[in-house]
């Protein structure tokens, strides 16, 4: 077998590229036509359909899987999915997340089971939108939305609190704290057996 390292093809486009990129060395009159040719490209582009949009008046949807602002999800009855386990904070390579857990009580229940996230902050000055936190979350409490409008005028405003991150209450959802659906346990919630809202 021939082991010598010969390129499969000599024409890798390099020659062509070199030609095209060659500087216009000649300052003679005949180069004027070439310059005109260049302006022509600019001119004709003015009549082409543009790729950009007039943001912020016009907003284009992002790609479906775009990594945008985070959201903390709820069960169908409004209870929070987050259990305050800090696995997201642990997974985060940028140390952007801060979670403090707390015990649910019978009087004040925010999530099914024993534990909920009392403090939840994401620092968007740090977040690199890698999505590792989403992968780490054991309850699918944390997901990413497509929201990309994350600019503000101060550092403090870019640290999002739990209120800013919680998913909005949809029809039938009740603002926690409230008890679990009657006769249901946290296991039913984890299995996805809680359908419909209005507290069961």
């Amino acid at each position: 077998m021939d082991n010598s390292l010969t390129p499969r093809s000599n024409d890798l486009g390099l020659t062509a590229a070199a030609k095209a990129n060659a500087p216009i060395e000649s300052q003679e009159a005949k180069s004027f036509a070439k310059q005109l040719q260049g302006f022509w490209v600019t001119f004709i582009t003015m009549f082409k359909k543009v790729n950009t949009v007039e943001y912020p008046e016009v907003k284009e949807p992002t790609a479906e899987r775009f990594h945008g602002r985070h959201q903390l999800n709820r069960y169908d009855d409004g209870l929070e999915k987050c259990i305050g386990c800090e696995l997201c904070a642990w997974a985060c390579p940028a140390d952007a997340i801060l979670v403090e857990g707390e015990s649910n009580t019978e009087e004040e229940r925010f999530s099914p089971g024993e534990r909920y996230g009392k403090v939840y902050q994401i620092n968007y000055l740090r977040c690199v939108f890698c999505g590792l936190c989403i992968e780490a979350c054991p309850t699918r409490a944390l997901t990413m939305t497509n929201g990309y409008e994350l600019a503000d005028e101060s550092r403090a405003k870019l640290i999002f609190e739990k209120e800013d991150l919680m998913a909005p209450l949809k029809a039938g959802m009740l603002q926690p704290p409230h008890p679990m659906a009657p006769g249901k346990t946290h296991i039913d919630y984890y299995r996805g057996d809680i359908k419909g809202g209005s507290n069961g």
Binding site: C85, E86, L87, W90, E100, G101, S103, G113, E114, P138
Partner: protein, 779 residues
């Protein structure tokens, strides 16, 4: 002597054995377990139940290895944590033996069959031996498709400790600890097979003073502390080595801080002091810092009689003006670090020109002053002497209540060998029962002590006239070793720093001119005051009769001294150095905020006299140590003490060194017999470990495990009073009374015992004294 040297020394006497583990030879003393011999080579065998300080149990079977002796192999893998090494033994661990590896993987699979998928909500997650060893010895995928066994969770086995039975791997570490180390067998393994679980005795709740250790040694998240539950993950925490500020046992501790707040404290590892244990007070009582309102800035009492915030220069100038040229005393409190106590001592002598300084914020006597300034600093007794003792004599001292690690040390020896424990308590506490203590009514009746005995004297012995003298006599007569064990962490250090009228730092007697000259030279002052100083009660009295105009107070609870102490402060100029607002700050003229233990560095001296240093746990704290503030006041007064930092103070203490001249001699006092009359009874009291102490403020879970206050009297007396067990009696003195349920105990008929500072039983506040004659009637 370092542990290595100690080991070398014993190696000479002990037969050494060489074994081969995974092809490497290692020589260890006879009796070493295979798992520990492997550790010496750096080979880690997975384990759950094995613990170096507990007797082997072989309960979890995770440590299986292949063993061959004299060429004959065991037919099955063996638990390496239960088998001692033998000559010609060849051990193959999971690293070299596929059989051992498979056996360990099999055990891990069994363990995980019923183990819940709780890691996200489990406090152990991130520091869990089961998680770690499931990664190293387990299968990547579960083959189990059945339904896991579940239990109701969590059950609280005390107000402080919660149990998740599903997570338990039945290693019996907790039950072995309770039985072998603490002597409180309130938890045990119950049921069999898949239903086996840790259980408590229904009628006897798990009220051990050491329950927190079970949380620390549980290899999974089955036992968790209520206070730390769901608080943090290991990666959130900054861990700092520290020393315990709660008592004179001197435990090494680890403090875990999250964002400037203490979240938990764990027992540190110091084989010469606390081994790996501590008590629940040290572990859980750290919320005192946040439970009451912190003194946020310096405060000055204005014309209107209210405290107003002031700037530091203003407050320092105000304090200095109030103290300069006045007759002032200093009350330190037993919680000061060595450096702070030294600061108070130097401040009193140099800035105030007085010997009126005392660290004793508790009942005290002249006999005690003499004992503290003559005998205590010369005592060299240590924990090691308890380990070797033939007899242990407890005088005015309840180790389990007043110095819990001392109790553990005595109990450890008691389990190993015949050790006689003698106590002078009028009634057997639970600690005494566990130590099988023989109660004697009179110190002079103790006989037959050997020179290898130890006499442990508590601070309460000073309350009985002549008792300290009797204890010293006993030690002199028998040659037994004497030790003085105060309750508070700072007391021994305060004596060494000279925070007492009779002593200058380093044990230099004030009464000796050469000692004064010595210290004056070191401090670069012309002379030091020579006139005898006052004790705490004398200082308070002098304030009332206008022999003193002002007082500097740091960390004193007036109710620990007497029920009149607070009112005695009212008409003088009071400078208070405090962490939180308290009874003293309420009457103070200047309040200067100081740093708490986690916010400063420093050291305590434990009862052995050895230093327990600690570093600042909250690195960016702006709070200042007492010594720094005293130094600023002294500068302002024009009599500088030059102690700008804790480190500088420590250097000065080291440079000054200890007194090498003769100590003053102990002026003995003879015993006075108090005879109880028919109507009156003799009251004795001591403080329980968990009570209403200021440093336990704000920790309700811990308070839940405090022992209930009862009044203990004899059966005959109860019959005479016509009360049954649990019925209320009223105990009164001239100053007040308290009502407590009766607990019938074996004791003499004219004795009564109540806890000193528990709920419903605050003896100083309610009766006005701690020991004395009381009238008892049915309530």
């Amino acid at each position: 002597m370092t542990p290595e040297q100690a080991l070398l020394e014993t190696q000479a006497a002990v037969e050494m054995i060489t074994v081969v583990i995974d092809g490497f030879e290692v020589t260890v003393p006879k009796g070493t377990l295979v798992i520990r011999a492997a550790e010496k080579l750096g080979i880690q065998i997975p384990r759950f139940c094995d613990h170096p300080l507990l007797e082997p149990a072989g309960a979890c079977r995770q440590c299986l290895v292949d063993i061959e002796i004299n060429g004959r192999a065991f037919p099955k893998p063996q638990a390496s944590c239960t088998i001692p090494v033998e000559n010609n033994m060849i051990v193959k661990t999971q690293l070299t033996s596929p059989v051992a590896e498979k056996a360990q993987a099999g055990i891990m699979e069994f363990l995980l069959i019923n183990h819940p998928l709780d890691c996200p909500v489990c406090d152990k997650g991130g520091e869990c031996p089961l998680q770690n060893q499931a990664m190293s010895a387990g299968r990547p995928e579960s083959r189990f498709e059945g339904v896991k066994r579940t239990f109701e969770k969590p059950v609280s086995i005390s107000s402080q400790v919660l149990l998740d039975r599903e997570r338990c791997v039945l290693c019996a570490r907790c039950t072995r600890f309770s039985e072998q180390i603490a002597g409180d067998p309130f938890i045990t393994l119950i049921e069999r097979g898949a239903l086996q679980q840790v259980g408590i005795y229904e009628e006897d709740p798990f009220e051990s003073y050491y329950s927190g250790n079970t949380v620390q040694i549980c290899p999974v998240g089955a036992l968790t502390g209520a206070s730390y539950r769901f608080r943090a993950r290991p990666f959130d925490l900054v861990s700092v080595d520290s020393a315990c500020e709660h008592c004179a046992s001197g435990c090494a501790m680890r403090t875990d801080i999250r964002r400037g707040k203490t979240l938990r404290r764990l027992a540190g590892d110091d084989s010469s002091v606390n081994e790996e244990w501590n008590c629940d007070k040290g572990r859980w009582a750290f919320k005192y810092l946040t439970s009451r309102e912190r003194v946020a800035s310096p405060m000055i009492r204005g014309e209107d009689g209210e405290l107003h915030e002031a700037s530091w220069p203003e407050a320092i100038a105000f304090a200095a003006a109030g103290l300069k040229g006045k007759r002032a005393g200093v009350l330190v409190g037993g919680r000061a670090t060595v450096e702070d106590a030294y600061g108070y001592s130097k401040f009193a002598r140099v800035a105030l020109g007085t010997n009126d300084i005392d660290f004793r914020s508790r009942p005290h006597s002249d006999e005690e002053s003499s004992f503290l300034s003559s005998v205590v600093l010369g005592l060299k007794t240590t924990y090691k002497d308890i380990d070797k003792a033939d007899q242990v004599v407890l005088l005015g001292f309840e180790p389990e209540e007043e110095s819990p690690i001392v109790f553990l040390r005595i109990y450890k020896q008691l389990r190993k060998r015949a050790l006689a424990v003698i106590s002078d308590a009028p009634v057997a506490s639970r600690g005494s029962v566990k130590l099988k203590a023989q109660l004697v009514s009179d110190i002079s009746s103790i006989s037959g002590l050997t020179s290898k005995s130890v006499i442990l004297v508590g601070e309460r012995l000073g309350e009985k006239v002549g008792a300290l003298s009797a204890a010293v006599d006993l030690a002199e007569k028998s040659g037994a070793k004497l030790a003085w064990i105060p309750r508070r962490a700072g007391e021994r250090g305060a004596i060494a720093s000279g925070a007492i009228a009779t002593l200058l730092p380093g044990g230099r007697p004030v009464s000796q001119a050469s000692a004064r000259v010595d210290v004056a030279a070191a401090w670069a002052v012309d002379s030091l005051p020579a006139n005898p100083g006052r004790s705490t009660s004398e200082i308070l009295h002098a304030l009332i009769v206008n022999n003193l105009d002002a007082v500097v107070i740091g960390g004193v609870d007036p109710l620990d001294i007497s029920n009149t102490a607070l009112s005695q402060l009212l008409n003088s100029f009071v400078v208070s150095l405090e962490i939180t607002h308290s009874a003293v700050t309420a009457v103070a003229d200047v309040v200067l905020p100081v740093a708490a233990v986690i916010e400063k560095s420093g050291s305590f001296q434990d009862w052995q006299g050895s230093a327990r240093t600690f570093e600042k746990a909250i690195a960016d704290s702006l709070s200042r140590s007492d010594v720094r503030i005293l130094s600023m006041i002294a500068d302002e007064m024009g009599t500088p003490i030059n102690l700008p930092t804790v480190a500088a103070t420590a250097r000065e203490i080291a440079a000054l060194g200890n007194w090498d001249g003769a100590a003053i001699s102990f002026e003995k006092t003879s015993t006075v017999k108090t005879l109880a009359t028919e109507e009156k009874m003799n009251l004795t009291s001591w403080r329980l470990l968990l009570d209403l102490g200021t440093l336990q403020d704000g920790e309700t879970n811990l308070a839940g495990t405090a022992r209930k206050a009862t009044a203990r009297i004899s059966k005959t007396k109860a019959e005479k009073l016509g009360v049954n067990e649990g019925e209320l009696i009223s105990i009164s003195s001239d100053l007040g009374s308290l009502k407590l349920p009766v607990e019938i105990s074996e004791m003499s008929d004219n004795e009564i015992w109540v806890p000193r500072n528990s709920i419903d039983s605050q003896v100083i506040a309610n009766l006005g004294f701690v020991n004395g004659q009381v009238t008892v009637v049915k309530a």
